[in-house]
């Protein structure tokens, strides 16, 4: 009998390693011992379930979810959209996607951010949504600006949006960052470069998607997210016995 079983092992040569010294904070925050490999149990192949009553339909619209009535944030109006798939290219429906970002000037609405660029009174910078039955999601927002950070003396993050995705299991949990096609800061960023493989880095760059733009209104970028795939348990018990 086929039933859903374990998730494919994470390819940890594809993901960034823990210790990436040019991203300085990783030096003291990376474990030195090897990870202990765990064969999955119910603790790993289950995960939290969310419903549409957990969130408000407006939560995915960052042009409106913090703006005063009749006003909107300043910046390049964009749609960020795509699908959440697994490694078998199957859609991941009804899963929670959360995002956060700086405003058009690169300033975060966070009490710890002291960058001199001003906050935008009509922009919060966070959103969340559930994927539909085909794994599709979208947000409406402004394109974030680059911002400086204390790593190297003159390091600047490329424009980016942080994304958090759940999938159906705790072992699929993922946080990543989406960058924008053509940004010359991507190739210079120590956080981007924590990922060793350039093909893997390219997977984090959203493509300009003219087919999804709304003429005279909002430009669009497409960003698909791939979560770990899942195999079927072909044999419930080992043929030779446990």
């Amino acid at each position: 009998m086929r039933k859903p079983g374990e998730f494919y092992q994470r390819d940890r040569d594809w993901h960034p390693p823990a210790l990436t010294p040019t991203y300085k904070t990783s030096v003291a925050r990376s474990p030195q011992y090897a990870l202990i490999s765990l064969e999955q149990t119910a603790s790993e192949i289950t995960g939290p379930v969310f419903g549409h009553n957990d969130i408000d339909p407006l939560d995915c619209d960052l042009l409106r979810n913090y703006a005063k009535t009749g006003e909107s944030p300043i910046g390049e109006r964009i749609i960020l959209h795509g699908r959440v798939l697994d490694e078998n290219a199957r859609p991941v429906p009804n899963t929670l996607v959360e995002i956060w970002q700086a405003n058009a000037g690169g300033r975060y609405r966070h009490k710890k951010d002291t960058y001199l660029a001003p906050v935008d009174p009509n922009f919060g910078g966070c959103g969340r949504t559930m994927t539909d039955e085909n794994g599709y999601y979208f947000f409406r927002t402004v394109k974030p600006g680059a911002y400086p950070w204390r790593n190297g003396v003159n390091d600047w993050r490329p424009a980016h949006i942080h994304l958090s995705v759940f999938g159906t299991a705790f072992s699929q949990r993922l946080i990543t960052q989406c960058y924008f096609e053509g940004d010359p800061l991507i190739a210079r960023c120590p956080i981007v470069k924590t990922i060793p493989d350039p093909v893997a880095r390219a997977q984090l760059v959203a493509a300009l998607d003219m087919n999804a733009t709304i003429p005279l209104d909002t430009i669009a970028y497409k960003f698909d997210i791939v979560l770990r795939g899942r195999r079927s348990t072909l044999f419930e018990n080992r043929l030779e016995g446990n």
């Binding site: 494919y8 092992q9 994470r10 390819d11 940890r12 594809w14 993901h15 960034p16 390693p17 823990a18 990436t20 003291a28 925050r29 990376s30 474990p31 030195q32 011992y33 990870l35 490999s37 765990l38 999955q40 149990t41 119910a42 603790s43 289950t46 995960g47 939290p48 379930v49 939560d59 913090y66 798939l85 490694e87 290219a89 959360e98 956060w100 970002q101 975060y108 609405r109 966070h110 009490k111 710890k112 919060g124 910078g125 966070c126 969340r128 705790f170 949990r173 993922l174 946080i175 990543t176 960052q177 924590t194 990922i195 893997a200 997977q203 984090l204 791939v226 770990r228 795939g229 446990n242």
Partner: protein, 206 residues
Amino acid sequence: MVQPLKYLKETPSQTAGPYVHIGLAPGAAGFGIYEQELGWDIAGPNAKGERIRVEGVVVDGTGSPIKDVMLETWQANSAGVYAHPEQAVEVEEGFRGWGRVITDFETGEWAFDTIKPGQVEGRNGQMMAPHINLWIVARGINVGLNTRIYFEDEEEANGIDPVINLIEWERRRETLIAKRDARDGQIVYRFDIKLQGDNETVFFDI
């Protein structure tokens, strides 16, 4: 030549960064935006079992507390059942079993209230000791770290837990055992996490 396998590759992880609260706990970032934030109520009011608090700090390789961590918790109810459609049994109304916890910006202390989970069946029918699964992200952590919280007063179950016993180095097993205490009539488990160095917490590749 061989046939191409054509699997997609998982989207690579990136650090959650220092402003993770904006997206995942905006109240802590300093602004109210959502009607309800997710993850603060793990067990709900109807959950059976012993009410407990779990608390600790996360320290880096220099021994300093980390003040911009987010932890997520995932646990079964007191009967050992996860709130997930693939589980054969229903859980109590309002029990989600998932929590989202951030550290205090000044002290680095974190805490959450829940119920003590029951035993869950592991592989090959072996029972696992009660545990809470933990996922840790922060600035400087490139891929979220997975670990488990076990309980000091479950000595017998811990002794035969298949995951604890997978850890070859006996001294390292202790890093997963939360210490039990009582404060103002409440049961409190202390679980400090050491990311690096002496007594480094065991992290799993799940």
